[in-house]
Symmetry: C2
Subunit: 340 residues, 2 copies
């Protein structure tokens, strides 16, 4: 397969993107197309030893910046690395597209250029949610839209479940709806409606989950609107860092514990790693006609490499087609039950 | 002043309520009225050595349970400890009411029996949000209503600011609005409208805050709807406990760090204490015509004592009157600016 990556997207592009692509090419047997300013990318490639056959450059002169307005940028910057890369995916010149650029532009661009999967009202960005000492969960919506209708939340649960099963290899992943309490009667009218829809969907819906339960990883697909999703991701990050900093300061504050602290250093860093998005393979854009992955703007070469590796099952397991088929099946089920 | 406490509200009522009242009576020079089933409360009082003069029992035969529907319970259970207590506050037989009972019933009861402060559209429950290694913040809404209008969010910010200043002694507390990003243009239409209102309010509004910043305590009054507030409080609790458990396990896993772990035990427990709601004086119901405090259902005697102590400035600093006056001033300002 051919993997397309935005060579200009992210704080450390193109250097870290190129380095990550080179690393990934050592591990996987696929071709990697780096899209962006040819001269700059060649310059970076020269700094690395790499498999010439598997890394290719596709020139794109323009760049969508973080301050660009998404819709305008996608419409006007037709020569940008992001638009060129998405068009390559659309035209079949590649099987997956990865970018660390402007998140809004990537979600909008994927929707405008690739189009929504039939039956999907709103494509969404999903993100890994780390579990301490265990396998991570997937959170949908990670912040693509600040509000959601019940039908959107149903789609999030369905698409997240398929992604977890196909890309992460989870069997019947547990899907939970973030709510004020576990009772079916809790929450806003939108949440109650979403509960009713998720209950009848062909997924392993475990009902409402309280935010307190999220760090245990019991709920493998976390369904919420983008506002709540943003709060969950950012609060977890902020709190984890603050607690670990405090524990570290405690350990360093006297000689006896200072010695222990040094002994613990490697263990502590493995704990911090759990909150390190570099370890996971990026955030999929779900609900568009093609596999698209967003990586963090500050991604280093490890994050880039991991995202490239994770993009393989996202494409090869036919996640997009399975989502399409599931939506059709659900609509047929509703029609046939209405016909009765 | 006279402090009224619901003797039957909470998982360990009346035993821990009575014990907490006895402890508080040692510290503050005020009378404490325990409302509930007289025989049961007398039984508990007998187990403690206490100042007979400062602790009084007011009989109430009925109890509102956790499974009672709030509105129905307040209307029908007129002889319950909660309704009797709230009526005492209304009729001037006490200066503050504290309960660990059904949260929904307490908020609804406070609104129905005491009435809203003029100009306040919706009373709200505020809660302490702990800061690691520092003074806590106040979070409004802690889960009273799952949705909020812009005007509600304005009221939350104003009332929270007054409470923090008068009860916690903070000068010009920093008020922040939880949002997806810090830019004024971010968020839902409700959030954008709330931003515009908070900006003109007579408070120290610092603008939008991202959830990542909350654990640092920079924002002293955290404004959000009750759904988001519930997610913030419960996720913080769950995550803190999970991280600390993991650190503890790490420390205990080998001999060298095990010794250090014992040395650290007291330090660790002081860290856990930061997430212990028992340390803080309960959650005020803001926006009703009288000071009402909710304590956690699982409160032990320390939490009860702390809430009783914290109830003194809530009443004596005239928080309710100051909120009323602030609302009047704001309305007059709007009218006079509209007249120009």
């Amino acid at each position: 397969m051919n993997i397309i990556i935005d060579g200009m997207g992210g704080d450390y592009a193109p250097a870290e993107i190129v380095k990550g692509a080179v690393k990934a090419a050592e591990v996987i047997p696929h071709d990697i197309y780096i899209v962006g300013r040819k001269a700059e990318i060649e310059e970076e490639l020269k700094k690395n030893k790499y498999k010439k056959k598997s890394i290719k450059i596709v020139n794109a002169d323009d760049v969508i910046t973080m301050s660009d307005s998404p819709v305008k940028a996608i419409r006007r910057k037709t020569e940008s690395s992001m638009v060129v890369g998405l068009n390559m995916l659309k035209d079949g010149h590649g099987d997956v597209f990865i970018s660390g650029g402007n998140t809004g532009a990537l979600v909008v661009g994927a929707r405008m250029i690739l189009g929504r999967i039939e039956g999907i009202d709103r494509p969404v960005l999903a993100s890994v949610y780390p579990k301490l000492g265990g396998e991570p969960s997937l959170l949908v919506d990670a912040g693509a839209s600040s509000e959601a209708k019940a039908q959107n939340l149903l789609e999030y649960g369905l698409m997240g479940s398929i992604y977890m099963e196909k890309v992460w290899g989870r069997k019947d992943p547990k899907v939970g709806l973030v709510n004020l309490g576990t009772e079916e009667s809790k929450g806003t009218s939108v949440i109650k409606d979403a509960y009713a829809r998720l209950k009848t969907a062909p997924i392993n819906f475990i009902g409402n989950v309280e935010a307190r339960e999220l760090p245990t990883g019991e709920c493998e697909v976390i369904v919420c609107d983008g506002f709540v999703g943003n709060v969950i991701l950012k609060l977890s990050e902020g709190l984890a860092w603050n607690i670990l900093k405090l524990v570290k300061n405690m350990l360093m504050s006297n000689l006896r514990t200072k010695i222990a602290s040094l002994a613990l250093k490697s263990k502590m860093s493995s704990l911090v790693k759990e909150f390190d998005y570099e370890e996971y393979g990026g955030a999929p854009v779900l609900g568009v006609n093609g596999p698209v992955i967003k990586i963090h703007g500050s991604s280093g070469s490890t994050a880039v490499m991991n995202a490239i590796i994770k993009s393989v099952p996202y494409s090869e397991e036919n996640v997009v087609n399975i989502i399409r088929q599931s939506m059709l099946d659900m609509e047929e089920n509703i029609e046939s039950s209405e016909g009765n």
